[in-house]
Assembly symmetry: C2
């Protein structure tokens, strides 16, 4: 490792990540296998995490405790965006009856920071913190379109565009031209490129300087809408919501500057 690097921290965080929604309870050996650590090492990290309150155990099985949320909490609460956006998302969902979300860009992924689901039961659960590849999501397209040319070049150079469905755009050239269109029209629509049957439409949220800092979207099953109906019925309320969030965000920013 070129840089100064604390191996134990990296390994300890890997232990936290070893737990997932499918297997929320793991034995010591399970953790060792998932993290490529020796059992002795896994044990040390687990005992440390139990001591710190991040992990619980009955002696055999280990699971995450609610305290792990505090690690993301500082980030979430420092971001005024979710707080500001939520009421507007509620209103949007009440109007169009589709799930609405807000996300930010992190490396090559979009990360959900606020979400209002419809009452419909959905196949994929999307919690705060969920990550999806930017290149094949509507919010990702909007966020990528907001990057500087240099940043976009770096993104395309560093990240292969993985094919997740037959419709996924995987050519950098094609994505570039799609991003040009998104930038020009001010919104993005993605049709079943992330997952079969999933269609979504997104709009940017910009700061005062005009830089895209987040995206808001509506997503629905392909069976419920056509591309035209989405554009006709969902786009106008979505754009109005994005504008309202932006306005509130700018107002909140001024309030902070001059309290």
């Amino acid at each position: 490792m070129a840089e100064e690097y604390v191996q134990s921290l990296a390994r300890g965080l890997a232990v936290i990540r070893a737990f997932d929604a499918v297997t929320p309870e793991l034995t010591l050996s399970d953790v060792a296998r998932k993290t490529d650590l020796t059992r002795a090492a896994a044990r040390r990290f687990l005992l440390t995490l139990v001591d710190l309150g991040y992990v619980r155990t009955d002696g055999r099985l280990f699971s995450l405790s609610p305290r792990v949320l505090e690690l993301g909490y500082a980030y979430l609460s420092s971001l005024s965006l979710p707080e500001v956006a939520l009421p507007h998302l509620e209103r949007l969902v009440a109007e169009v009856h589709e799930s609405a979300s807000v996300s930010v860009l992190d490396e090559a992924d979009v990360v959900y920071v606020a979400r209002v689901p419809t009452t419909r039961i959905m196949r994929v659960t999307i919690a705060i913190g969920t990550r999806f590849p930017a290149h094949c999501t509507s919010m990702g397209r909007v966020l990528l379109a907001g990057l500087s040319p240099a940043e976009l070049d770096a993104f395309l150079a560093g990240n292969p565009l993985e094919r997740l469905t037959p419709r996924t755009v995987t050519s950098p050239v094609a994505l570039r031209s799609e991003l040009d269109r998104v930038r020009a029209q001010g919104w993005a629509m993605v049709d079943q490129e992330l997952e079969e049957g999933l269609r979504s439409i997104a709009a940017p949220i910009r700061n005062r300087a005009g830089r895209t800092i987040a995206a808001v979207n509506l997503s629905s099953h392909a069976s419920r809408t056509t591309l035209e109906s989405a554009r006709r019925d969902l786009l106008p309320p979505l754009l109005a919501t994005a504008a309202r969030i932006e306005a509130d965000l700018h107002a909140a920013a001024s309030r902070e500057a001059t309290p």
Copy 2:
């Protein structure tokens, strides 16, 4: 330290926690001061966290990246509770126009795992992961009332009941009898014991075995409601919501057992 303990992991997590909503951007020295580490140590951990993608830096200032959410994400998404509860919270908020939340107990604190705010601007921001002392919150009272006698004894023995407002119940004896009442009546009301002007009412969410696993609440400003109006207008919808969440949760649990 009696147990096997990885110091570097504990220190590294402390570095993550050094960031908060008030000061989301810190210099290396700021972090060192906040964590009681030497600057050299703080530097090692920060560089490691930058390398792992959990922290961003412009060279001078450090801040958390959205990736920190992934540490809490596994916990959140393994918990079916927020997913199940959210639609019911939405409905409740639409009906009574007060903010609704769901929390679980962790050590001596309640931890918010789902929340639907009203459009009203509030003084205190409550994000997912926010912690409050259990003894002086309505959800905390409901959760403490659901503990076994032995667990409650351990709680009272291990945690001094801090006075946060003049009204906070700080005597273990008084709290015990209040918890008895809460257990008998099936809900809790707390009037400005956490913060002046804040009044809230909570109900338990139980698993099939009858154990209280979470609490749902409504909170409002003392100026907007009286104790009687809260009990008359808020309690019935709150109890109905708790019942609906419980029913859905039990249904989801059976679906999981026999897919």
